[in-house]
């Protein structure tokens, strides 16, 4: 099986598709802000800065092309969030979609949660492929017929129609967050989910919108004593009582909801002592964790900070079991990256289906894969140049210093405006979705 098979270096990654406008003039509303496969991998959702959600559906594999996986085509597009205005604080609330999380499928319809800074919405995406025709009392356009012309009884029947995909908001979970929402996570009980902002985590029931329970609150009594904020949170994939949240100080706290109603006291604290030789003005910024993800098997979790990816064993709190340097060559450039604001970029990370490979983005439209068992890493680029169908991607290399070899790119030539913050891996197969600023690239492994 491709997904469970060899790691990144046995796999040859090929270009499959690219979505989005070709021109370099990027409209801000089109900037992709989140990417997420659903549980089967058949659907791929993206959210953008303009508050829209676009869902792609994988085509069924055709008999004609047994060696190629189905393409992803647009399935549904809808406006999830609109810009709002908080009159009390005189603040505009951005419509940018921060996160999308799919619910597991229970019936014919699909459900997903999407959130902006303040409001979470539950969307139902359903298909309509038939419609009732032949009403007795109505014309085809809906107008009522003159009753005197009705002489027979006719029962409407369903007739096939062109497939229509409808998205409708089923629940709106609002007014529960004072600060900006950074994460949502569906619980394995499939009844509750959490939403996290900078200082608080709330627990919701999917059916109930008028109340939520606050389970973590790290707001100090005096805001001037604030030293850290919550940067990401996630429920354990199969233990419905366990959640983790990461902080701007580089720590991760694991909380058990059985211990107390309020999880301010953590059950476990994961922290690696700082290397004093790496201390700089920017040590705090680069140690801030931008993403935390449990492995599919629930034994490990992965964190992403500015320069590295760390894998933690849930049973060991004092240090990660694996650390991968994403772009260590940037350590000497931190001051420039502070100047151009890149040091504040929040990169996400993801696991492959069998937890053997992890992936994260970098600059210059590079993305990196780390193969855990073999300790191998790979750098690839999402670019229009390597966008020929089924073209194999060539591994890239950054020259950190010294003599630049052929095909290497020097650190100073990197384009820091081209960043890959959001990536997603198909839950079973070797298919990945990589978001550049306004394009979505889909790559898959070469099938022989």
């Amino acid at each position: 099986m491709a997904g469970a098979g060899g790691g990144s270096n046995d796999v040859q990654w090929c270009f499959s598709q690219v979505k989005g406008a070709i021109d370099d003039d990027v409209a801000e509303a089109d900037i992709i802000s989140t990417v997420e496969f659903n549980h089967s991998g058949e659907l791929l959702a993206t959210g953008d800065k303009g508050g829209r959600v676009v869902i792609f559906q994988q085509e069924q594999e055709t008999k004609g092309q047994p060696h190629s996986r189905g393409e992803y085509n647009v399935y549904s597009t809808f406006q999830s969030h609109e810009p709002e205005f908080d009159y009390l604080k005189s603040l505009e609330i951005e419509e940018k979609i921060n996160k999308i999380r799919w619910l597991p499928q229970k019936n014919a319809a699909q459900f997903l949660l999407s959130t902006n800074d303040k409001t979470i919405k539950l969307w139902k995406i359903s298909e309509r492929d038939k419609r009732p025709e032949g009403y007795n009392l109505k014309e085809e356009d809906g107008r009522y017929r003159d009753p005197s012309t009705v002489t027979t009884l006719r029962v409407p029947v369903f007739r096939p129609m062109d497939l229509m995909v409808e998205a409708s908001p089923r629940r709106v979970f609002a007014n529960a967050h004072t600060y900006h929402i950074n994460s949502i996570s569906v619980n394995s009980d499939y009844e509750t989910y959490l939403s996290a902002d900078d200082l608080r985590i709330n627990l919701w029931h999917l059916e109930i919108t008028d109340r939520s329970f606050n389970i973590v609150d790290i707001k100090p009594a005096n805001m001037e004593e604030l030293t850290e904020v919550i940067t990401a949170a996630e429920f354990h994939p199969n233990q419905c009582n366990t959640l983790v949240y990461s902080s701007s100080k580089g720590t991760i706290r694991l909380c058990d909801m059985r211990a107390a109603a309020l999880c301010d006291k953590h059950s476990k604290l994961f922290e690696e002592p700082e290397d004093p030789s790496n201390r700089s003005f920017f040590s705090e910024i680069i140690s801030s964790i931008s993403d935390v993800k449990f492995s599919h098997n629930g034994r490990y979790m992965m964190t992403r900070d500015y320069l590295s990816v760390k894998i933690w064993d849930l049973n060991m709190e004092n240090r990660p079991v694996e650390t991968y340097q994403v772009h260590e060559y940037l350590r000497s450039k931190l001051c420039s990256l502070y100047e151009n604001d890149c040091i504040f970029d929040k990169f996400e990370c993801c696991w492959n289906g069998n937890d053997s490979v992890v992936m994260t983005g970098s600059y210059n439209n590079f993305f990196r894969m780390f193969e855990r068992g073999h300790r191998r890493d790979l750098t690839l680029e999402a670019s229009r140049e390597s966008s020929k169908p089924r073209a194999v991607l060539k591994p890239r290399k950054v020259c950190a210093g010294g003599k630049r070899k052929k095909d290497e790119i020097s650190v100073d030539s990197l384009d820091f405006n081209k960043k890959i913050l959001h990536t997603a891996w198909h839950p079973q197969d070797n298919i990945i979705a990589v978001a550049t600023t306004n394009n979505l690239y889909i790559f898959q492994d070469k099938m022989n």
Partner: protein, 169 residues
């Protein structure tokens, strides 16, 4: 000295970022503000400690990190010595901080420093005998901005209750 210049540059950068983040769409971001504050404080600490070390050990070749005297203020609230240290002071030994006249204790190191340090460049438009006042205002503005940002983020409708109730939309 390089660290000193670097620290000052980072402080200026950070202040600029704090000012511009106020007009950002979506409101002040707490995480970003916190990180900016932390960088600002690191830079301030480095700046003050390196200036203080220079004041005590002028260019006589000694680089020893002597333990700083107890009256050495590390915070920016009001120490006369501190405000003088922040100035880009001219080398003319006759010019001195107007404030430092009141503080006889710290007069000596400041004066010797002025004799040996190179001219850094004049404060634009300001009379040379008043640089300390300008520096203090700058630092106070930074502190005010930081606490204003924090209060703003705290907001007028901070929810202190553990269970939130909300409207059904």
């Amino acid at each position: 000295m390089e660290q000193n210049t670097e620290a000052k540059r980072i402080m200026a950068l950070s202040l600029g970022k704090m000012y511009s983040s106020r007009s950002q769409r979506g409101g002040l971001r707490l995480h970003r503000s916190l990180l900016l504050t932390l960088v600002m404080r690191s830079a301030q600490d480095i700046y003050h400690s390196s200036r203080v070390v220079t004041e005590i050990w002028p260019a006589n070749g000694q680089h020893a990190q002597k333990a700083l005297p107890a009256e050495e203020p590390m915070d920016t609230s009001g120490a006369q010595f501190q405000t003088c240290a922040l100035t880009t002071s001219p080398e003319d030994s006759q010019l001195r901080c107007a404030k430092s006249d009141e503080n006889k204790e710290n007069l000596e190191p400041v004066r010797s420093n002025r004799r040996t340090r190179k001219r850094r460049g004049k404060a634009a438009g300001e009379p040379d005998f008043l640089p300390s006042k300008r520096a203090r205002i700058r630092m106070e503005a930074a502190e005010e901005l930081l606490s204003a940002q924090v209060t703003e983020l705290c907001g007028t409708n901070c929810l202190s209750e553990r269970t939130c109730s909300s409207h059904v939309l």
